[in-house]
Structures are given as C-alpha cells and as structure tokens.
C-alpha cells in the first residue's frame, strides 16, 4: 500500500507542469470538443428538473454532425448538420429549422476563449478525481463579477473530453449539473445514426434563416457587461415575425448573449416578460416600440442589463462599457 502511494506521488511529481495548469486543460478540452467523434448519454439537472439525453457527435473532414435525443419519452430531438439545426418537437407536430450563413459558422462566430488573457474569469486546477472514463482533471472557472456564470469541469485525462460539468451563479451556488453516464469515443459514426426517429411527414415545418442585410448594426447596446463584445450582427427570419429580425450576438469569449430586435408588428401588442430553459434565460421588453428579446447562458440580470440599454444605432450614445 505504502509503495503504491509513493509510486503515485512520484508519478505526480513527474507530470509536466501543464498537468496542473487549468488553462492548459481548458485548451486541451477545446481541441477535443472540436475534433472528437463520440456518442453517449448524459443527465442534465437544472431548475428542479432532470433530463436524460443521448448525444451523437461526429467530426468528419471538418464537417460536424450532431444529434441529441431526449430520453424522456416524447421523442424530442435536435439534429445539426454543420450550419443547419433542426429541432423536432413531435408532441407539437412541429419542426424548427435554423440555418445560418457560412460566414457566421457555429464555432467561428465566437471569439476564442483565452482564459489567461481574460480578466473576467479566474481559472484554476482543483485536483484529480475519478471520472466516467478514468482519472479526470478538475478545473474551476470562476467569474470575477456577477455578470456571468462559473464552471467546474471534470476533464478526462486521456481523451480531454469533459465528462461532467457544473454551472454556478455569482454566489458560487450550483445551478446546473451535467454528467455523462455513458461516453464512447468513436472513429466514425454512420450517417444513418443521425437520422431522426420522427415521422417527418406528420410535422409542420418552420424555417428560421439569415437574411441578406447590411453589415452595420442598426441597433447597438449602449451598455454591456465588461468584456462583452459584439461578435455577430445580422438579420434573420424568425417564426412568428412578419419581417426579418435583427440578431446581435455579444460574447465575452465564454458566455454569449443573443439580442433579437423585432420591428413593431401591426396588431401585435409588445410584451414584457421572461423565460427560462435549463441554463439559458430570456428577457423580453419594449424599446422605442420594438420588441427586444435577449437570450443567453448568463444570469438573468445580465440579460436585463443589456436589454434595457439597447438603442437604435442613430440614437445618441448614453453609455458604453
């Protein structure tokens, strides 16, 4: 027993310095997420609910395919093929298609997160624990203010895949836990595995897609939390909207917030309210007659902060962070 302990300690001493570097682990994880094909099941606990989902993720010659299926029995699922995402809601007899332009590629639209250069998060290595696949490095990403969430990640030491994560609020309280219960790394996954198990002929289809528009944002956020920058601006068709909706994306490199600005619609009364789905929250309000809706995986207060500072681009500047 003592020999085993000594051997383990020597093994730790022999590890390169990067083995205890939280930022290095984040970088490895980012590479793994971008380039690994895998299948598995995970449980997501949030807001008093527990959801079990199956995931298939394939990276083949730079092309990304993904399928997530709710295992709760209703048959809801999401299938992504590069820039197109389809959400199947068979219980509603609906499918929502979201297509985005190649210019705003799913991953490329967001700035690369460089934890070392980010003053808004503190990254630390918290040790090693047993994980689903074997030893896992535990990395803590702690926000330095209340505008963003914190993360605790269990990164498999061999594959660099995150096998478990916890999301925490500004007070450090866990608000969501996600844990893989099965995970298999795969060299390839056949196309057939990404076919939805839904009778597509019975669905009504709703399309949401980017529209051709000017590059200059017609609206801007007069106030955004420190570190958040505009990373995308465009127009897109939205279900239920009679005209294209302005879509802005702000990101601090790790968290992101989408802002949707909808011009006044005759016969439709603007509303104020909020909603939540898992870790994502939404807040909708009215600014100069426009329906402004802000969505993101940040604290609700952050959404309100951004929403209430939105102004048409030609309005006089009031404040900018």
């Amino acid at each position: 027993m003592r020999l085993a302990v000594v051997t383990a300690m020597l093994g730790l001493l022999a590890l390169p310095a990067a083995a205890n570097d939280g930022q290095a682990w984040l970088a490895r994880m980012a590479d793994a997420l971008a380039g690994t094909s895998y299948s598995g099941e995970f449980v997501c606990e949030s807001a008093g609910r527990s959801e079990r989902l199956r995931i298939l993720h394939r990276v083949r010659h730079g092309s990304v395919s993904e399928r997530l299926v709710s295992l709760s029995g209703g048959g809801r699922e999401l299938v992504r093929e590069n820039d197109e995402v389809v959400v199947y809601l068979p219980d509603q007899k609906l499918a929502i298609i979201e297509r985005r332009s190649a210019r705003s590629d799913l991953m490329g639209a967001l700035p690369t997160f460089n934890a070392g250069a980010s003053p808004w998060y503190e990254v630390s290595f918290a040790g090693r624990e047993a994980g689903l696949l074997g030893p896992a490095a535990v990395v803590v990403v702690r926000p330095r203010d209340g505008y963003r969430f914190g993360y605790r990640l269990w990164i498999d030491e061999a594959s660099h895949m995150p096998v478990r994560s916890e999301l925490s609020d500004a007070a450090g309280r866990v608000i969501e836990r996600l844990r893989f219960t099965q995970l298999a790394l795969k060299g390839d996954i056949p196309d057939a595995a990404f076919e939805p198990a839904v009778d597509r002929a019975r669905l009504r289809w709703v399309r949401q897609a980017p529209q051709v528009g000017g590059d200059a944002p017609a609206w801007r956020a007069a106030q955004v939390p420190p570190g958040f920058r505009l990373s995308m601006s465009g127009l897109q068709a939205m279900a239920g909207a009679s005209a294209p909706v302005r879509h802005l994306v702000y990101s601090d490199g790790l968290a992101s917030v989408s802002v949707f600005i909808q011009a006044p619609t005759p016969g439709k009364t603007p509303v104020v309210g909020s909603g939540r789905a898992g870790v994502a929250s939404a807040y909708t309000t009215v600014v100069q007659g426009h329906q402004v809706t802000v969505v993101g995986e940040v604290p609700p207060d952050t959404l309100r902060f951004i929403a209430t500072g939105l102004r048409p681009a030609d309005a006089p500047a009031e404040r900018r962070n």
Partner: protein
C-alpha cells in the same frame, strides 16, 4: 391572529406547508376575514419586495390565492386537488425567496449600480424571478455534493414571453452558445414540457411553408 397562524401562512406562501395543514388553513381562510386580509397583505408585501413596487403583479398573486379559496368547495363537496394547491403554492413560492433575492440585489448592486435604480419597475420586477435557494457549493467535490445536491425550483414564467416563443429564440441562439453549455441549452430546449411550461409549440407555424 396567533403567531402560529402567521407562520402557517408564511409556509403556505412558500409552498412548504404540509398538505393536511394547508387543507385546514384553506378551510379557515374561507370563514376568517382577518386571515384573508393578512394573506393578501403578506402576498403584497412579498410581491412588493420582489418587484420593487410592481403592485399589479402582487395583486395578481393575491388574486390567485383568493380564487383558489373561492374554488374550495363547501363541506362535503369534492376537495380541491393537492396538485392544484401545489401549483398555487408554487406560484406564490417566489414570494418566499424575497429576502434572499433582496440580498442578491444588494450583492449585485456594486456591479449593476445606478442602472438598477433607473430601470422601470417592470424591469426590476424580473429580478425576483431568479431563484436564490440553497444548493451545493461550487467548490464542493462531486461526491460531497451528491447526497445534498439541490437544484433551484423552476421559476414561473412571467407573462409576456410564451414558452413557444422562447423555443424560437433558443433555437436561433443555440449555434452561438458557448460550446461548454451548448448541451445544456439543448437540454432545456428539447426538454419535455411540464406543468409550468417549457419550450413547445411555435407561434406562427400555421400557414408557413411546409416541407
């Protein structure tokens, strides 16, 4: 009104009063004007704490409580279902977190500062929708947190943003979500709807191009 009754009222509004005691309390509310008044005041106080003056919202909660009492059948009739009471209590449960929400607002004040103070009441009211309840500390190890892990209850949807609309926006946002939380966003998106509402039907679907 005794302190005991006051405690029961408070627990009822927090959704923490056991079923038998809730049933008795509802019976008592039917015939006790003073108690109904106190309940209304408690609701208003809680809602005002939550909403920084959004009295209409507070009255809405109080009205729901009153409506439930009114629905309570006379003796011998079919009893109001416990699930309804739970639903009612859940609606009022947000009031119970008023103090912790107020604390959270104070904690956030240095960051949000004057913006909060200058926001309209309806905006500030939404702050109360953020549940702040005891959960495992983020620094706790996985196994330590396991048995005691608690997730905050789902906040009631405020009027205005229907779950269906939320689904539309989530789908549009999904591709821009951080890879770290993208799975979580999906989980919220394709989660099966529950009583409180979850992303579901899409308004405007009718009449759109089919495939």
């Amino acid at each position: 009104m005794t302190d005991r009754i006051k405690e029961q009222l408070s627990a009822f509004l927090d959704g923490e009063l056991p079923e038998p005691e809730s049933a008795l309390l509802l019976k008592r509310l039917e015939r006790d004007d003073e108690l109904r008044g106190a309940l209304s005041r408690y609701s208003l106080i809680g809602a005002v704490l939550r909403s920084d003056g959004d009295v209409p919202a507070a009255r809405q909660v109080a009205a729901r409580v009153s409506a439930a009492i009114a629905r309570e059948p006379a003796q011998g009739g079919p009893a109001i279902r416990w699930r309804d009471r739970r639903s009612l209590a859940r609606g009022a449960a947000g009031l119970g977190v008023a103090a912790s929400v107020a604390a959270a607002v104070v904690m956030l004040a240095p960051q949000f500062g004057a913006e909060l103070a200058s926001q309209p009441a309806a905006v500030v009211a939404e702050l109360a929708e953020t549940p702040v309840l005891p959960v495992a500390a983020v620094d706790g190890s996985a196994e330590d947190a396991g048995p005691t892990y608690t997730t905050p209850p789902a906040a009631d949807m405020a009027s205005g943003l229907a779950p269906a609309e939320l689904a539309n926006y989530l789908v549009a946002h999904y591709g821009y979500a951080s890879p770290l939380v993208r799975r979580s966003v999906v989980a919220g998106l394709i989660a099966e709807p529950d009583e409180s509402g979850a992303p579901g039907a899409v308004p405007g679907a009718e009449g759109q191009a089919g495939q």
